[in-house]
Amino acid sequence: MSCCCALSTQEKILQDKAAGKENPNRAKHQRLFDILETFDGMAPIIDADRALLFTRSMKETEGQPLNLRWAKALMNIARNIPVHIDDRQLLAGRCGTTGRYGILYPELDGDFMADALDSLAEAKTAAPISVSPEVAAIVRNEITPYWKGKTFHEDLNRSLPPEVHRLAYNDELGIKTRFVVSENASYRSSQQWVLDYAKVIDRGFASIKAEAEEKLAALDPLSPMDTLKKRPFLEAVIITCDAIVLWAHRHADLARSMAETEKDPVRRQELLDIAERCLRVPEFPARNFREAVQAQWFAQMFSRLEQRTGTIISNGRMDQYFYRLYKQDVEAGVLTDDDVLELLDCMWVGMAQFTDISLSPGGLATQEGYAHWEAVTIGGQTRDGKDATNELSYLILKSRQASPMPYPDLATRIHSRSPQRFLWEIAETIKVGQGYPKLFNDEEIIPLHLAKGAPLGDIFDYTASGCAEIRMPNRDTMTSSCGQVNLGAALEMVLRNGRMKKYGDEIIGLETGDPRSFSGWEEFWQAYLKQQEHLLAASYVEQCVIHHTRARHFAGPLASCLHDLCMASCMDLHTDEKIPGGIDLGFVDIIGFATLVDSLSAVKKCVYEDKSVTMDELIRALDDDFEGHEALRLRLTRAPRFGNNDMYADSIGLAVDRTAQEYCHKYAPETGLHIDIRTVSVTANVPHGKEVGALPCGRKAWMPFSDGSSPAQGADLNGPTQSIISNYNTKNWDYNERAARLLNIKFSPKCLEGDSGTEKLVSFIRVFCDLKLWHLQFNVINRETLLAAQEDPKRYRNLIIRIAGYSAYFTELSRDLQNDLISRTEQTSI
């Protein structure tokens, strides 16, 4: 390396590793590294136990209320699923077999699960899975036959009107996604969600069970609704509380019997301590920090057995709900910061072993690289609006700085009074180069949600959830997964009069006329708006059908019993009825925002203002995918582009965002739902791009769109400051139909070098806060490293990179996504 280059910490460690040097963090995190080595680089093993036990129970309970059936299925799982405790682990509780593993949810995809597993096991993908013949046989012989005709996606497939179905699927069965107005709901039973872990730690399930029993005793026996709705809900809660406690006690038994044969006295004592904790929590309130961690761990693991939550159940505000017992133990002298780091490591390494397996093609494409991001939230404000940063916030940051794994994702809440030390440690963690933490901005999120109707205390206490979203765990009630609208397709349908290059003569959008005959920009823009509204309307229909269909297929007695409002009303969180006091924060995604804005800008500038290109020439060039039209393509890329603080492009972006929100403002009320506009693509910018031919911004056919609300790949040439100001410019501050906006920035390690680099990154984060942007995250890496990792994936197996709201191993991503990441602008400075 010449002295002009700098490496991120991660790059340095990878370089040292290749030279045979030990990871410098190992000494302090021995247990983490020891456990990590047992599964590092392993293809996840599919474990069918949860699916089998769930199916067997559901077979026996047909005809009963759904939430009661779900609780009984959970009980069957708790009673019979094999339990394991890993060597060296201090925490008990996993959802499946040892090593790196994934579990199955036949209620989602049971009807085609056997075939999907066969093809996934054979597929040569960057992220392979391992399916044993025994598991394949169980799925084919016992699971799939029961679920045929009963799954959610089959019901959804039957229920969607044909004109919407056509935009969502390429096949009659509704398995192969058409990424025009795609849906996310059929491969997860819930949108991202966060449990109220404080309740688990501070009350325990015995107390929740007692509350349900009290309510059950107080029901009016003459009330038909009490009998039909409330009673099954409460019975389901009681069974579920018993189930999780039984499951914990089975771990206690296992730990005790392992201790009996354990020769190493230190490990024997650890096992006896585990046994003691498993007998205490999560049944009763945790008495110390160690019990609190075990209680949280059981709750999140059991919730994974309950349902497939989008991106996996998030961890909530860990530095808040653990703090009281942390402080108590530290003051009593029974807990050191090193003990805390070790317990956190045990959690992280447990999360890293669980992978979120998608069987449907849509799920595979939109969440690449075994994507799961059980976000841990730190920082922010307390319920009464004071800064909430504490010693645990710093310990969690420190722990994630040293950990060579993408899991869990780390979210930091920033506000105008966030301590400088907090921002400094965040900047230092960003500089490690593993893509976390992501930043959430209280100065945007809190006022916006007040406008959406949140109570002050609840929104001060919000937590990051999933990718860039937030939750108020006792106030939110909407868990339907969002649809995704392809903005590039809307534009292509203007240029092709309702058709798309990929689908030939099929009329997919509206026939807005031959654009060659348009009189000017205004007519073009109006035609675009019609296409956009048409797709938004389809996504609204899709969301409504999804929302009402889900209630017939899913229940979540665990998630519900931890929610104040569900307990108060005796309603399951999956209900499609309005839960009294609840706020629903639903949304649809718009995909390809910057690609669209740049394309509209190029049409406006080149065709209608400068008249340097005719519409006919443009359409012919797009038809030819710019082959033989390179000069024209380059002229188009010179039009003003989003991400440069240029109001020519940014005002178009502002209008696109506003018109989308205006649609929501007009039509959401009649649906009875909130369906706002989110600008978070996850990895959907890749499959959505694959649907659409060449576009006027100069993007070639089938290439990825821009991601989230980030500038298009290579379009932001005026540096990171202009890039984030453009994001500010395109927000409609007077509309509250806006939702999360994800923004990625890639820095070269050189421009963040040293303390002065850290200091400038801190200032940059302060400005992000001042600008009231929702979210920001960073990749700090040299382009050369990514190219080298493509060449030699084995050597770079541990290279972690930021994707879209989560980090993943670079070499486990598809080539398309890898190339997308490489092509994003790297911000340097001279």
Binding site: E630, A631, Q722, S756, G757, Q827, S829
Partner: protein, 307 residues
């Protein structure tokens, strides 16, 4: 002042999010034209005050639009790419306008103080949060004294923090007038050896050294940050560096920093159709590190930040 805002000069680049040239997050405005001809110059496009037409071979798509557009018939497509008869070029920019690929492009253009500072001001939030602001660089900003001083006066009017990166080769009067408008001065000293200085830069260093002394005498509170580009075969010896460090300390500078020779300007020589004067010269990294240690033993690398 209106007159300052309307003043025009030649600028060849505006660089946002600059983090290596002065405190905080800064915007660098590069003024064109330089009195020195340092052999290692990494900004060859900055040397002449007149705009330079350049050709980027990697962007060129070979469409010949520029050849056809040139009214002087100064351009032709040869086996080596676009060839230019420099003597025929009038700088009319027809070729630049015709090129669809940005391969034919212009280094430098005339700008007004107002427009430059409007652009600089777009990042005022970043300056406020980081203690950053405007840095004038070049070329040599003092090569366009009227324009540079107007930029500094107008930036002061707008309460933008002002730094200047200079070689200090100009009249004392101009230099002191600029210094009076600055919050921070970055100044380059290549070598104290006058003969060597003349040989490698084309000019004597005597007014450079006296200007630095004069600036400190006149404005003792102005932080002066001396830098030396360490160039193989020119000044990469302990003797050179120790002498400059001693001078910097004695002249009242607050910091002394060594910059490693790099070849990042090489492609720009190619675009301009010029030979790269340094050839394959490379800096010995180990030697550079020990020179850095030597410099650091005399003075800090960056000024102590006001707390």
């Amino acid at each position: 002042m209106y007159a300052d805002a309307m003043e025009k000069g030649v600028v060849f680049n505006v660089q946002k999010y600059s983090v290596h040239d002065g405190p905080g997050i800064r915007t660098i405005v590069f003024l064109k034209g330089c009195p020195l001809r340092c052999r290692w110059c990494s900004n060859p496009e900055s040397q002449h005050i007149a705009p330079d037409i350049a050709w980027n071979d990697t962007l060129c798509i070979g469409c010949r639009s520029c050849v056809q557009a040139c009214p002087q018939k100064a351009l032709s497509l040869s086996a080596q790419g676009i060839a230019k008869k420099h003597e025929l070029c009038t700088g009319c920019r027809s070729c630049v306008r015709a090129c669809p690929a940005d391969a034919m492009f212009l280094y430098g253009g005339e700008s007004r103080v107002k427009d430059i500072l409007d652009d600089v001001e777009k990042d005022s939030l970043f300056y406020a949060r980081s203690g950053g602001g405007l840095t004038l660089s070049g070329g040599e900003p003092m090569f366009q004294p009227r324009f540079a001083l107007a930029l500094l006066r107008e930036a002061k009017e707008r309460h933008i923090h002002r730094a200047m990166e200079s070689c200090a080769f100009c009249s004392e009067e101009t230099f002191l007038e600029a210094a009076g408008l600055l919050n921070y001065l970055l100044v380059d000293i290549k070598t104290l050896d006058e003969e060597k200085h003349r040989h490698f830069t084309g000019q004597s260093n005597s007014c450079i050294l006296s200007n630095i002394r004069a600036a400190h005498r006149a404005f003792p509170d102005l932080p002066i940050h001396v830098r030396t580009p360490v160039i193989p075969g020119v000044n990469d010896t302990e003797k050179d560096i120790a002498a400059i460090a001693a001078f910097a300390r004695e002249a009242g500078a607050q910091a002394y920093e060594l910059l490693a020779y790099h070849k990042m300007g090489q492609s720009k020589y190619r675009f301009l159709g010029k030979e790269y004067p340094m050839g394959d010269a490379a800096l010995d990294e180990k030697n550079f590190k020990s020179l850095q240690a030597l410099a650091a033993s005399v003075m800090p690398v960056s000024p102590a930040m006001p707390s």
